[in-house]
């Protein structure tokens, strides 16, 4: 099965970033249909029928999330999560670069569904050019009457504000995002209350991912029932998979959910590079557990991957060939979490520090076996005991790699260097 192009249908079309070309390709017809023919409640029902689940990582059903907003409490806000910082993930950037108006249209449809007078697009600071592009597109859409007072002659009014972050992975977590958007250090808040009840400025708030929202024009135009017929039963529609690492053709590929992972690797990524073989892969970005070649026949389906002990997460697939040192990979990921820990709770703030220190000494080959055995303790003291999922997930990859590649971890103890890299060097010189 090849790619299934729904969100990526117009990727690469000349000038698609301009309003005129987007309109010519059917753009803003979804918004027109929603405003002209559906009440907000009908729209929420349609999205429920589609079965779409959030693409930001947790996979929560979108229509259901919207229906949690308390009745009659206004104003409400929509926050678009464009903080994309999960290691291995670059699909939201592609969706902005390649079809910014699709995101803006989806944002307006969601804002109408929840009756939000303002939608904020929180975009990570590193996506500087993407922020400027979105700002230009918002101005263009405003001038054409898609944003502002009485949109398309309806009584719905909505403004969009693009808000740039400044380098903090944790601001992708929805309550930290809200904190940051309010002008504070971006640290997670205690839930409940959930943002749906008490979010931005203390008002009911929905936070949705860029990809989730980019689906909405298609759901409105083609109908929720049609959407539910695409993909797998409990993972409807498509997803953009960000493929990177040791493959012949890295990139984002839009696949129907339910397609075997092997097809993504072999047909789209064109297999592992240099005639090498697959050693391991991560199916959901840096936060998710390692999977092995035997898992390639799993379908790209949230629940199936979860049953195998990992998760599709944010849709980032990182493939590693046999030359890869799993200690080195674990060390880099642990470093990432140590750097990104927001410091609010001790298990994560201290735990990521211990993890990082240990992994650096292991990779350098100066750790003792007794010290290595403390890794499990360190992680046990974090997983499930942190204030937010960042601290928990800081243990997932390294623990799964330690289990699957225990020999490789142990081999590093007292080796005086990285044994995997030494072997690779010998192979090259032989």
């Amino acid at each position: 099965m090849a790619e299934y192009k729904l969100l990526t249908k117009d990727f690469g079309m000349d000038g698609i970033q301009s309003l005129a070309v987007y309109e010519r390709s059917g753009g803003y017809e979804g918004l027109r249909k929603a405003l002209g023919t559906m009440t907000p409640d009908e729209l929420v029902e349609e999205v429920k029928t589609s079965g779409i689940r959030g693409r930001g990582g947790a996979g929560f059903p979108t229509g259901l999330k919207w229906s949690f907003l308390p009745k009659g409490v206004h104003p409400r806000y929509l926050c678009v999560n464009a903080d994309e910082s999960e290691p291995g993930c670059f699909k939201d950037r592609a969706l902005i670069d390649e079809n910014p108006h699709q995101l803006i249209e989806g944002t307006l449809i969601a804002a109408y569904a929840i009756q939000a007078p303002i939608a904020f697009i929180y975009i990570r600071g590193e996506y500087h050019d993407q922020r400027l592009l979105l700002e230009r597109c918002v101005e263009e859409a405003r001038a054409a009457g898609y944003i502002g007072q009485g949109i398309l002659g309806s009584d719905f009014s909505c403004d969009i504000i693009i808000h740039g972050g400044a380098g903090a992975y944790i601001c992708g977590e929805e309550t930290a995002l809200i904190d940051s958007l309010e002008g504070f250090r971006g640290q997670p808040r205690l839930k409940p209350p959930f943002p749906a009840v008490k979010g931005l400025y203390g008002k009911p708030t929905v936070v949705n991912n860029v990809e989730t929202l980019s689906n909405l024009p298609h759901i409105v135009i083609r109908g929720g029932a049609w959407f539910a017929s695409v993909g797998a039963e409990k993972s409807t529609g498509t997803r953009l998979f960000c493929c990177s690492g040791h493959i012949n053709r890295p990139g984002t590929y839009e696949m129907q959910l339910g397609t075997p992972i092997r097809e993504l690797l072999e047909d789209e990524c064109r297999g592992i590079w240099k005639g090498h073989s697959l050693k391991a892969f991560q199916p959901g970005g840096g936060s998710m557990q390692v999977l092995l070649p035997e898992h390639l026949d799993l379908p790209l389906e949230m629940d199936a991957v979860q049953k195998a002990g990992s998760a599709l997460g944010a849709g980032a697939m990182v493939f590693m060939d046999e030359t890869t040192c799993m200690v080195d990979v674990s060390m880099r990921l642990v470093d990432f979490y140590q750097h990104e820990s927001c410091g609010k709770c001790a298990p994560c703030r201290e735990g990521t520090y211990f993890e990082s220190d240990l992994m650096h000494r292991l990779e350098a080959g100066v750790l003792t076996p007794a010290e290595l055995s403390t890794l499990t303790d360190i992680c046990d003291n974090m997983n499930g005991k942190c204030f937010c999922p960042l601290g928990d997930t800081a243990t997932w990859f390294v623990m799964s790699a330690y289990q699957a590649f225990r020999g490789e971890f142990e081999e590093h103890c007292g080796a005086g260097g990285c044994p995997v890299k030494q072997r690779n060097a010998q192979l090259v010189s032989a």
Binding site: F11, E84, R93, E126, G164, A166, A168
Partner: protein
Amino acid sequence: MNVLTPRTRAEIEWQRDRYPQARSAVLPSLWAVQHQLGYLSPEGMAEVAELLRLTPSEVEAVASFYSMYFDHPGGRHHVLVCINVSCALRGAEEIVSHLERRLGCPSGGTTEDGAFTWEQTVECLGACGGAPAMQVDHHFQENLTPERVDAILDGVRGAPAGEGPQARPHSSRGSSAPRAS
């Protein structure tokens, strides 16, 4: 005495007035200050505080949380190299050691002529499909090789501060496979 130009102050006031609550404008205001001064000086942050009706320490506490704000002046151009997994798998270490040699200073340092400040980062930049990748003055540079890095640096060196070359737009192969380098 104001250190911010009337233009920067006007930008901050515009930001302040467009949010339901003025405090939301802290991050955009700090960006405006950094854009003008190249970093966040205590005086610049104090002016943000005055315009947003906050205390200087409130603004400083926010600024210090975010890794993209600089608390001291750097080179005219900023180079940020990703060393997270997807980039490491495709040669980030080679790029890092090349930059170290070529620029003559370790990560975090500034070249003697003041042209470049460079650093490696564990923060994935969102360019893993074009790994190894870096940003020069916020613009993506992907599919790096030492030769490509040299060409990029040579192209930027003489340009005005902060004006790195605009990366070519994302072209499409598959859905958005990265451009061939």
